[in-house]
């Protein structure tokens, strides 16, 4: 694989995001694989922000450790990012704005370009971003005209003049660099000819929204929260085209209860949120479990606890997803490994929720949710379509009024058919109180026990395409283990470790509940040491594994919880401590 890292940084409000978007989309359309990561703060203007884009000739699922081109709008950008600079990297800065200094020793090229001055000549200072794209094109020996279509798309609405001056800014940036500097960084060759069927640029949040729609969701109730709001934005645009609605609830308690209400009526419904909102939903999670009402919650995790770091990534809601709410309920917890699985498992969540009549939690995180990236295909052909057990109108009409037993505790698999409001003779009460078959609250000990056992039986024969995957050497003695969004990075780490001669495999969870016991045991065959890598402080996944499967003596933690996403060198470093050092050079 050939790859290359580009980063632009400055103050929030300087147009960093839109510049990154233009550059990323342009490369994507040329047939590259891109992966973006936005570093931003929980304020609107002024704080440091940067936008990293990794470009490659193969599928990538991580934004990469290295920066080969850094566009720095201020010294802070250099101070915050210089350690990522690759040998021979080019740093572009505007000498009229500040005199760039490297805080440490690095073999890189500091290149002064009068970005603002060139922008002014092209039509306005605001276009310094576009000048920097032109400079980038020069550094990579790319034709600046390649950016024309994206600029047309982005600014076409504002008129031909705006398009022309932006293009001019790109050209002038290109010319200036060509005339003044010699440092060039080779760019990989694009490997794909994008087609209607192939090559999409999408974030995990968009994929989750799309998946919801494909899975049958026609009702979203949500309350704005970073980093989940984009799911709401995406569905606000799409739902009305498919006969569905989005309600902005007054808070997350309302949102989740609305999702329960809509599901009770028979409409696949969900709520999307992040940690603080998810915490507010705990009581309702129990209601869905107890009343056996389908419910889908997408939790795009961010750094906690409490308000935590609202704009930083983490995988620390796993315990809450698995164990949250008082009392005991069954739930399904899916942890998509990739953007494709964000689509697929969010879609499937609706079928699973109806099939098993219980809450399904889709756990993603800021890193996957907000990072746009290139994927080859959406696995639309793999989406489940199951509306679960329903009692038919005819079957109900054959019953005496009041004879329908919604919560029939004698059913073998624990899942009793449900009726929907509007069906004659189908009356029942869905409730959070312990209840008898028809949904009347009761406290008889034998009924309580029978109903509790009924609910617990529901997942005994659970099957779904999610679970645990194994990459690499099947019976290797060393294993990297993770869940959710770290899949791509751990794959890169596995490949690196394998290249250096280590017998290693990579085990990854795309579902944590119900725990894929057998598959995990099979995956662990032959393992002498397993390094469980996760973005939280307490090793939540490792603890789940200990609890569900054992392996106490051979599990090692690889933990990160400082707010930054995980890097390859960090995984390799920790691997070097846990696995035999000799083979790692």
């Amino acid at each position: 694989m050939q790859d290359c890292g580009w980063k632009i940084g400055g103050k929030q409000g300087e147009g960093i995001d839109s510049t990154g978007d233009i550059y990323a989309i342009a490369l994507h359309r040329m047939g590259y694989y891109v992966f973006t990561y936005r570093h931003f703060m929980s304020l609107i203007k002024g704080g440091h922000t940067n936008y990293k884009i990794r470009v490659a000739d193969e599928q990538i699922r991580h934004h990469g450790d290295l920066v080969h081109v850094l566009i720095a709008f201020d010294q802070t950008t250099i101070d915050e990012n210089w350690q990522e600079l690759a040998d021979g990297a080019v740093v572009i800065y505007d000498g009229a704005a500040f005199e760039a200094k490297l805080p440490g020793d690095r073999d890189v090229n500091l290149c002064q370009v009068p970005l603002t001055e060139i922008a002014k000549q092209a039509g306005g200072a605001i276009m310094k971003n576009m000048v920097s794209i032109g400079v980038t094109a020069a550094i990579h020996n790319m034709d600046p005209e390649l950016f024309h279509p994206v600029i047309e798309d982005k600014f076409g609405k504002k008129g031909a003049k705006v398009v022309q001056s932006n293009l001019e800014a790109v050209r002038q940036g290109y010319v200036y660099y060509e005339e003044h500097y010699k440092a060039h960084i080779p760019m990989p060759k694009p490997s794909v000819v994008p087609s209607d069927e192939r090559h999409f640029y999408v974030s995990g949040n968009q994929a989750a929204g799309f998946g919801a729609l494909a899975g049958g969701c026609r009702f979203l109730a949500a309350y704005p929260i970073t980093p989940a709001t984009e799911i709401m934005y995406w569905l606000i645009n799409e739902m009305p085209k498919h006969g569905g609605i989005v309600v902005q609830a007054e808070d997350e308690i309302a949102a989740v209860n609305m999702a329960i209400g809509a599901n009770f009526s028979g409409v696949p419904a969900m709520t999307s949120t992040s940690g603080p909102g998810f915490s507010l939903m705990m009581e309702a999670l129990g209601l869905a479990g107890m009343s056996e009402t389908p419910l889908v919650i997408v939790d795009v995790q961010r750094s906690g606890p409490s308000t935590g770091l609202p704009t930083k990534t983490e995988q620390s809601d796993l315990n809450e997803a698995l164990y949250g709410t008082h009392g005991e309920i069954q739930r399904i917890v899916l942890t998509p490994r990739t953007v494709e699985e964000c689509f697929l498992y969010t879609a499937d969540a609706f079928s699973l929720a109806e099939k098993y009549q219980m809450p399904v939690i889709v756990l993603t995180d800021l890193y996957m949710g907000m990072s746009s990236q290139t994927i080859d295909r959406f696995p639309a052909d793999k989406v489940m379509a199951d509306t679960g057990k329903r009692i038919s109108d005819e079957a109900l009409l054959a019953l005496e009024p009041g004879a329908f037993v919604r919560y029939d505790e004698t059913v073998k698999d624990g899942v009793s058919p449900r009726s929907l409001p509007g069906q004659k003779n189908g009356r029942y009460v869905a409730l959070g109180n312990e209840h008898n078959g028809i949904g009347l609250e009761v406290e008889e000990t034998y009924i309580r026990q029978a109903q509790a056992d009924k609910r617990m039986r529901k997942l005994q024969h659970f099957t779904h395409q999610s679970g645990v995957t194994v990459d690499g050497i099947k019976d290797a003695p060393f294993a990297l283990v993770g869940f959710g969004s770290t899949y791509g990075l751990l794959e890169e780490a596995r490949q690196k470790l394998a290249q250096s001669g280590l017998q290693v495999k990579h085990i990854h969870f795309s579902r944590v509940a119900p725990f894929p016991k057998e598959d995990f045991a099979a995956a662990m065959g032959g393992v002498e040491r397993a390094l469980v890598v996760e973005l939280n402080q307490q090793g939540q996944l490792a603890n789940v594994i200990r609890r569900e499967a054992g392996y106490h003596d051979i599990l090692f933690n690889g933990l990160k919880y400082n707010g930054d996403p995980l890097y390859l060198h960090e995984v390799l470093e920790r691997a070097g401590q846990v696995f035999p050092m000799g083979v790692l050079q």
């Binding site: 006969g243 007054e250 209400g261 929907l420 949904g439 609250e441």
Partner: protein, 287 residues
Amino acid sequence: MSTMKDFKAEKPTWCPGCGDFGVLNAMQRAAVSLGLEPENVAVISGIGCSGKMSQHFGGYGLHSLHGRSLPTAQAVKLANKNLTVMAAGGDGDGFGIGMGHFIHAMRRNVDITYIVMDNHIYGLTTGQASPTSDIGSTTKTSPHGTVEKPIEPLQLALSERCGFIAQGFSGDTKHLATLIEKAIRHRGFSFVNVFSPCVTFNKVNTYEFYKTGLVNLDEDEGYNNADRFEAMRRVSEANNLVVGVVYEDPAQTAYEDTVYGYPSESLVSMERGLKQEEYDRILAAFH
């Protein structure tokens, strides 16, 4: 044609004499009078003695969480517009823990009816002060008398421009049934507050207390229930002790009639999944 029997379910578990019997009876009468079929009515209740309403009323029921009947009920209705949806609960449920939802339900104006059994006390938890308890009420949690100003549900609803506001008394189920019937007929969110005595834990706000001293606005020919400020004044003058339709604004449009894209068919009848051309259109946007 449905009859009272169609809206009966299991025998209620309320204390003999509890005001909530009257509310149940009035809801059933209203449903019969409107010619509703039980399978097309859903009652969504909160938690409390009043919260048992969903179990005792013979329609579909969702006995939700303490304070959360309103968001749940709005969604039940939005998902299936062919249902008649009533939310029901107590004063603690609606004006304590669920107060936020009450105000937002009035703002949102989904076409449901909200019935509060206001007994000025927490009944199910055996007699604690409630948000509508009068100042000085001695209860288990206020042995020296409450000091907080009580919520005034009607004034609150008036200030929020709720499109239909009524108050009834469970000692007069006939009148209460007419109020609930009007409330259901009103297109948009409608609110019916009911003085529903707790005979076990509230020895002040009793049937006797309400039998004298309630001003019936429906019988007052001079009363114009389209005038919000007049309503505020009259409610205030009577120290909230009014019954009847306090305010109605038929011109308000319900959420369903206003919100962009709400389909003309019921959401529950929508096709699942996506057709190939829908996939293609969405995919094209990701290129």
